[in-house]
């Protein structure tokens, strides 16, 4: 019974993610692409919950859906640009070449995936993936990368202010 529910949830979330991915690259209006991105991110958050990664799922909703997509929408509204991609591309046959390359890449990855052994998943403790468990690892083993990440954030904020200020 539980297994059936899990399969249904996985199917729904996977279908949502795929539909959103198609929406991102096929929508004419950037706003629709941004909302499709939101659909992908939400579906992936559901999959993270299935994979016992509740902290990552919450982060996904807060950082990606809450901040990044809103930022995208903000810029789209701010620029208020012409949205069409009317004129012919400067590179001839770019689109068919891109499709062929993507299909070839997918075939290579599928060939690799065929060799992945499907061993049963490891047994995990109850608190696997909680904010407490991930946080403990972040602040012990990975405390140096954590502090470096804060440096990167500061640099990013300063860079955004400097670039966004424009010419004086």
């Amino acid at each position: 019974m539980n297994a059936l529910i899990e399969i249904i949830i996985f199917g729904a979330a996977a279908a949502g993610a795929l539909a959103g991915a198609v929406g991102i690259i096929a929508s004419a209006a950037p706003v629709r692409s941004a909302l499709s991105l939101l659909l992908v991110l939400g579906s992936l958050a559901v999959l993270y919950l299935l994979l016992a990664a509740q902290f990552i799922a919450v982060l996904q909703v807060i950082i990606y859906a809450g901040a990044i997509v809103v930022l995208f929408l903000f810029v789209i509204m701010l620029l208020h640009m012409r949205t069409g991609e009317g004129r012919a591309t400067k590179l001839p046959r770019q689109r068919p070449a891109a499709v062929v390359l993507a299909a070839a890449f997918l075939a290579v990855v599928a060939a690799v995936l065929r060799g992945v052994p499907s061993a049963p998943a490891a047994a995990v403790p109850e608190e696997f993936g909680t904010a407490q468990a991930v946080g403990r690892m972040l602040f012990t083993t990975y405390v140096l990368p954590f502090e470096l990440a804060s440096m990167v954030l500061i640099v990013g904020i300063i860079a955004a202010v400097v670039i966004g200020r424009g010419p004086r």
């Binding site: 992936l44 990044i68 991609e85 689109r95 891109a98 390359l101 997918l106 966004g164």
Partner: protein, 101 residues
């Protein structure tokens, strides 16, 4: 965990391919950027799936750092796109071709 890991990996691979396809065929800089986000997210899914499969939290910690870097990347990238729009009045990447010679 009823669903075996290869299913998650296959989904991740398809999402990554779609993101790459979006980068290659779209010319709106904002949509290209969203496709890059899609690729980052598909890789995150593989990391989380293997974290669960192997029973270690390192994969989830990696995803945390990817999210931090992705947030910075979006902020700086969107600032650059806004700056380009200010100076050239377009976000079509085919129109930004100063390096083309």
């Amino acid at each position: 965990m009823t669903i075996p890991v290869p299913y998650y990996l296959a989904l991740s691979a398809v999402l990554f391919t779609m993101g790459a396809l979006g980068v290659l065929i779209r010319r709106n800089a904002l949509v290209v950027f969203m496709s890059i986000e899609l690729m980052l997210n598909s890789v995150n899914l593989s990391f989380v799936a293997y974290a669960r499969q192997l029973g270690g939290l390192e994969g989830q910690v990696t995803v945390f750092f990817v999210m931090v870097i992705a947030a910075v990347e979006v902020v700086v990238g969107l600032a650059i796109i806004v700056a380009i729009f200010r100076s050239r009045d377009t976000v079509d990447i085919d129109d930004v071709d100063l390096l083309r010679g």
